[in-house]
């Protein structure tokens, strides 16, 4: 049952082949069996999931079921969930129980989807390996000695290991796509503003975007149908109709123009990964697509620009964690300053503190123009690169990450090398464009094959096309069907 697609699950529930209670039980059993080894979940909400599944079955009996009623999922622990701990992977929020649901959570709830638990993640979504989590790193189901990527590493791992049919993630600089690539699943970061950020704990507000993490593009389309849409509680969400994302899945790709930015295939890209990506692109050529060489000349500025903008915003966003109203508070504060300093000093991990310090510095009087303002100008240049490219092509393709999953601890003490894991994904966030990662093939690793992701970048609000392009590839290949050993 745990290998069925969302369409098949929906069909099975509708036909009465199985109930949501049964389906949910299957996944809860798998979580019980496998989560300890993967550390993919911060919270398992078995009781709530069981109750929600029963409610979903009643809804169905009453004839009020929607397409996804009864299909369970896992939310990244960055989304506020009423009555259930929302830790954001941090000691700071280890005691935080939100009094409200994030819009994404509320929408999934309204669709009748039981929540199985909440996925582990890098602390405050800051990281590319899931090693910054207060709850310890998530293990990659393909090789538990390697990282699952980050920051949505828990979400990627649960989908790869079939502990949930689908999961939600968030992507600020690659946090959906990079772990999707490293765990061999499908991940979509929608256009900035497509999905409400309300109730999603902010890392970098102008970059954060939630999206589906699934086994296939078709599943992603189903989940995006639920997640997307304008929200009056998020001023940056866009008032624009939500199409049925499944509608265009089967369009053929004859004449599709695929841009290949030379900057994404140069130095820094692992040769084996490069070969897998090349082969995937050849596949598209066979399917009738046309390959176009393009350039995104300011690509090399993405990482430095991002590491000014994102820390600047986070330094301000994370000020509310001060030990006064919620979250971690130090023992016996001597005075107000001591309360602030020790609550934040003890509550935040090293990577979060590093970024708060970088951001505070970048916004300081005398440095603002040289860093923050300059970064905003570069951001414009990076966006313009894409604008130019999309005059010539329909989608842009390249590797999602420069390498397959690396060993736990391999980059933990080298932040710059860690930051370069997102070198191909960051520009998309800076420009606000939608981007996707799909399984493109495998590279032989020490413990067996390791998955490689193909990144597909589209025009603003062109998610339907991305999903179509990804789905057609998945009809022709079976990389996305492969299951890590031990999780079949």
């Amino acid at each position: 049952m745990h290998n069925k697609s969302i369409a098949e699950l929906s069909q099975g529930l509708a036909s009465g082949e199985f109930s949501s209670a049964e389906l949910t039980r299957v996944y809860l059993d798998r979580i019980e069996k496998h989560n300890a080894g993967l550390n993919a979940l911060v919270s398992v909400t078995a009781d709530e999931a069981t109750a929600a599944a029963q409610l979903a079955d009643q809804t169905r009996q009453a004839g009020n079921a929607g397409l996804l009623t009864g299909v369970p999922l896992i939310h990244k622990d960055i989304f506020c969930t009423e009555g259930v701990k929302t830790s954001c992977g941090s000691k700071m929020l280890d005691n935080f129980i939100a009094p409200y649901d994030a819009t994404v959570v509320a929408k999934c709830k309204a669709a009748g989807m039981p929540m199985l638990g909440k996925a582990n993640m890098d602390e405050f979504a800051m990281g590319s390996s899931n090693e910054t989590s207060f709850y310890g790193p998530v293990k990659n189901p393909w090789d538990i000695e390697t990282v699952p990527g980050g920051s949505s590493g828990g979400s990627a791992a649960v989908v790869a290991a079939r502990l949930a049919p689908i999961a939600t993630g968030t992507d600020t600089g690659g946090s959906i796509r990079q772990p999707a690539a490293l765990c061999g699943i499908t991940g979509l970061k929608p256009t900035y503003g497509r999905v409400s950020r309300y109730g999603m704990i902010a890392f970098a507000s102008s970059l954060d975007q939630a999206g589906p993490m699934t086994r296939s593009a078709e599943d992603a389309a189903w989940l995006l149908n639920i997640m997307a849409g304008f929200d009056e509680r998020d001023s940056t969400s866009v008032e624009r109709d939500v199409p049925d994302y499944t509608a265009a899945l089967n369009n053929d790709l004859q004449g599709l123009k695929i841009g290949l930015p030379k900057e994404y295939f140069g130095e820094g890209l692992d040769a084996d990964v490069g070969r897998v990506v090349d082969a995937a692109i050849k596949q598209y050529q066979q399917m009738g697509a046309e390959l176009v060489d393009i350039s995104l000349p300011n690509s090399n500025l993405s990482v430095p620009t991002y590491y000014v903008v994102a820390p600047a915003e986070c330094s301000s966003n994370l000020s509310r964690f001060d030990g006064v109203r919620f979250g971690y508070r130090c023992e016996d504060p001597q005075d107000l300053e001591d309360l602030y300093k020790r609550s934040r000093g003890e509550g935040f991990g090293a990577e979060v503190k590093r970024r708060i310090m970088i951001g505070t510095y970048a916004l300081s009087a005398g440095y603002y123009d040289a860093y923050y303002l300059k970064a905003q100008q570069l951001r414009q240049l990076i966006s313009d690169d894409f604008k130019q490219a999309f005059k010539k092509v329909d989608v842009i393709m390249g590797p999602t990450a420069p390498d397959v999953a690396f060993k736990l601890g391999a980059k933990a003490s080298d932040p710059v090398s860690m930051y370069l894991s997102d070198i191909y994904t960051i520009a998309t966030n800076l420009a606000g464009l939608p981007g996707m990662s799909i399984p493109a093939g495998f590279v032989a690793g020490s413990k067996g094959d390791m998955p490689v992701g193909l990144q597909i970048i589209g025009q603003y609000f062109d998610e339907s096309r991305l999903l179509n392009v990804a789905h057609q590839f998945q009809l022709a290949t079976d990389w996305h069907q492969r299951t890590p050993a031990g999780f079949e």
Partner: protein, 478 residues
């Protein structure tokens, strides 16, 4: 040495919106602590601000009223600092691109002259909560009801040259925001408060002196006193060979002194940057036109109209237009009194205001309504009562004895205008005071008043004074 004082004011006017600037929570004053603070006001993880359009409308209204440029595009920025009553660790304000820029206001000074004060900018921002230091066993209580209340911060040019000018400017803004119905002006509740930037320089010097910022002054009287005492401090300091340092100072009204809160070196680096949670505020021409159409008659326009239409003195007109309620009250009185503007002005600005001031009440709370006062003036006009009797009628109305006609009837105050009733009284008085009559006829004109007094006394003040005068003159000369 002669010193020149330079003052600029930053006024915080709390906008009279029903809900907060970035959340749906109520802005009503006086609720139990923390009962009017929702998830957004508390700065809970994950929440986002959504701009209250009404606050934008009010700011635009103010901009139009001071002839300023209402920015077609303004941007909210975050002002970052830690304080327990600032839930998010930053205040959402406007920095580089405020909603209102470059306006001006004319103020009237005591010597009758007037002066233009430049208004640099006015920007929207959210208020913080309140820290309460009493009664918590050595701890501090935080009330976040006020957090997120919309404020319009109105920043003047350093155009004022005395505490009195500063007060005149502050009063004018106070009156204007109430005219526009964008602020209730309640200073006790903190809806209208001000910071004053004060410096001194030798008369004739072009460069400004180093300024001190006096924080959070919430009454006109304290603004004047605080500035005066700060000016004195600065001059004394300089004359003693010292230097003014740029700093924030607090005015202590009990001790009538200012003292240092923090110096420039200790000042926060607020790390302003555009708030990524909010889109730039874009104002369309049509929106501005709509706001323009809702602008009421402004105080200056009203004052001029009062001078022209009612032939009032500029002074009376200024007094009567000091607040919109007072001006409306006066106009209603005049209307009821059949257009007797001068008399209405005297009664409103004189007896009524005097009585209100004595008990510390506002015009809206007056026990004598505009209809009642107008009705009384009508009775003066049609000679039912004299101006003198009117004072008694007014007093009775104030005490709640009903409208003028009721009081006149109940107290029998109707004026005697029938000469055949007055004449016998006069005859009696002439007959009973032969000595005075002789002296008067002998040229002692002053005694005329004595006869008037006797007649009024005999008629309990009800005889029509004009008729008494005429009849007395006639009879005494005979």
């Amino acid at each position: 040495m002669a010193w020149e004082v330079v003052i600029g004011l930053e006024i915080h006017a709390q906008l009279a919106t029903k809900s907060k600037i970035f959340s749906g929570a109520s802005t009503a004053y006086g609720a139990e602590p923390n009962t009017q603070a929702c998830a957004v006001d508390l700065g809970l993880p994950g929440v986002l601000p959504v701009l209250n359009k009404e606050a934008v409308r009010m700011a635009a209204k103010f901009g139009l009223a001071i002839g300023a440029n209402v920015s077609r595009r303004s941007v909210f920025a975050r002002k970052n600092y830690f304080y327990p009553d600032l839930p998010k660790g930053y205040q959402i304000s406007q920095m580089e691109l405020p909603i209102v820029e470059t306006g001006q206001l004319e103020i009237e000074l005591e010597d009758g002259s007037s002066k233009i004060v430049g208004i640099t900018r006015a920007h929207l921002e959210e208020d913080a909560g309140k820290s309460m230091h009493g009664d918590f066993h050595g701890m501090t209580g935080i009330d976040l009801n006020r957090a997120g209340t919309p404020l319009l911060e109105i920043v003047s040019e350093p155009d004022m040259r005395s505490a009195k000018e500063a007060v005149a400017y502050m009063k004018k803004i106070h009156s204007l925001v109430q005219y526009l119905e964008i602020c209730d002006g309640n200073m006790q509740e903190g809806s209208f408060r001000c910071d004053a930037n004060v410096s001194v320089r030798p008369a004739g010097q072009k460069e400004y002196g180093t300024r001190a910022e006096l924080k959070n002054i919430n009454s006109f009287r304290f603004v004047e006193k605080a500035i005066d005492i700060e000016v004195e401090r600065q001059i004394d300091l300089i004359e003693a060979g010292g230097k003014v340092v740029q700093e924030t100072r607090l005015y202590d009204s009990d001790k009538n002194e200012t003292r240092s809160m923090r110096s420039k070196e200790e000042a926060n680096d607020y790390r302003y940057f555009p708030d990524p949670d909010l889109l730039p505020v874009v104002i369309e021409e049509s929106f501005l036109d709509e706001v323009k159409s809702t602008l009421p008659e402004l105080p200056d326009e009203k004052r001029q109209r009062f001078v022209q239409a009612f032939s009032l003195s500029s002074y009376d007109a200024a007094v009567l237009t000091a607040s919109r309620e007072l001006a409306d009250y006066f106009e209603r009185v005049t209307q009821v009194a059949g257009g007797e503007a001068k008399l209405a002005a005297n009664w409103v600005a004189g007896d009524l205001m005097g009585a209100l001031n004595k008990v510390g009440q506002e015009i809206a709370e007056s026990p004598v309504s505009a209809e009642m006062l107008g009705g009384m003036i009508k009775r003066i006009q049609d000679n039912t009562i004299s101006g003198k009797i009117a004072k008694e009628v007014f007093e009775a109305m104030w005490q709640g004895e009903g409208d003028a006609d009721t009081v006149i009837e109940a107290r029998g105050l109707k004026q005697i205008t029938d000469s055949s009733a007055i004449e016998p009284v006069i005859d009696d008085i002439i007959a009973n005071n032969p000595g005075q009559v002789e002296q008067y006829r002998g040229g002692k004109d002053k005694l005329f008043g004595f006869f008037v007094g006797q007649v009024m006394k005999a008629t309990q003040g009800k005889a029509n004074p004009q008729q008494v005068n005429e009849l007395l003159k006639q009879k005494l000369s005979g």
